[in-house]
Amino acid sequence: MTAYDLEPGDGVHPGKPVTVDRYTVGARINHWITAISLVLLAISGLALFTPSLYFLTALFGGGQWTRAIHPWIGVVLFVSFSILFIRFWRANLWKGEDNIWLTRVRDVLLGHEERLPELGKYNAGQKFVFWGMSLLILVLIATGLVAWDQYFFRFTSIETKRIAIIVHSLAAVGIICVWIIHVYAAIWVKGTMGAMTKGRVTGGWAWRHHRKWLRELVASRRSNAGTPRTPAE
């Protein structure tokens, strides 16, 4: 059994209930930096996107600061997300069961997970979020650099800048939608938050949503019995 669903730091601890290490401290910090950046970017970006949200610039010390800080947060996001990408990309590769998951998305939405195949560490929805974010962040950073007049004005024509800014806007709308799905899913699927806060989920959660991943964890725990891993705390 190939085990790329397993990421470094993943582990299972028998007990009552069973706990499962889903994210290491590093991964969680990485995620939250990315997440905070994304939120700040969304707020500052939206402030400049539509006059009805311009008041949000007050959070950043006014329009000048908002304009100045947004691209720098973008850089932080990009770097941070790149690291996240390196951590997570293997587990997010597409697999056969993902196609089945997709065809049964109605069951997903209605919570009938018993009708779904067993899933690895990420389901197709999460993979969609991961790859969506990856792609959109690439687009955003590229168009963002074109729009970053303070340093890059002279490298592109005004027409290019016009195209860049509209693409940037559209991509931003896209990424905000992806983000809404991501956050909503975390709220809807109870027990998920713990993964990114404490780093752990319960065995039941893993059993319910990522049974294949849980099985792999258990299997790998057995094979590594001689060298028990310390839980990620």
Binding site: Y54, F55, A58, L59, F60, G61, G62, Q64, W65
Partner: protein, 199 residues
Amino acid sequence: MNMELSRRQFLGTAGAGLAGTTLGALGFGGVEEAHAAAIRPFKLFNTTETRNTCTYCSVACGIIIYSKGDLKKGEKADITHIEGDVDHPTNRGTLCPKGAALLDIVKSETRLQHPMIRRAGSDKFERVSWDEALNKIARAMKDDRDKNFIAKNADGVTVNRWNTTGFLAASATTNETAWATYKAVRSLGMVVFDNQARV
């Protein structure tokens, strides 16, 4: 705009922005209501006008010099702006690129401020008092004139000529300055005397 000034203004605004963040966080107070007058206050209000003519070419465009302070009232006057005089028949208020930038020559950083002397073989100017400078000049002139003045030529004709010292007169001084200069120079018998008519 003056970028130095504007930089300071920017830093000031930035400070206000930071303070505003705290307030803003409490309720986004009034940022979108920020209001500033677009129209700059007219900068010639409450200045003193003085009629003059442009110093450059002999079209002699009429100009108005605007200053803070009024010389006529015995005040110190600092020139702040110069503009064409609409009442002037020739230029009707217009000015060329030099006339339009006359303030720059009045306020030039390379305006001379003090009498200076460069001594023989030196590589610099040194400050000198007016008295010292003028005494030195007058003494040098008298010595040279007494030594080289030609009262009579070889034919015995009275010629009263001094041609070892020369004077190059200006091209933009007033007639009145020119006349004072003419009297002072010609009374010495100086003939090496010319102006800028040719160049």
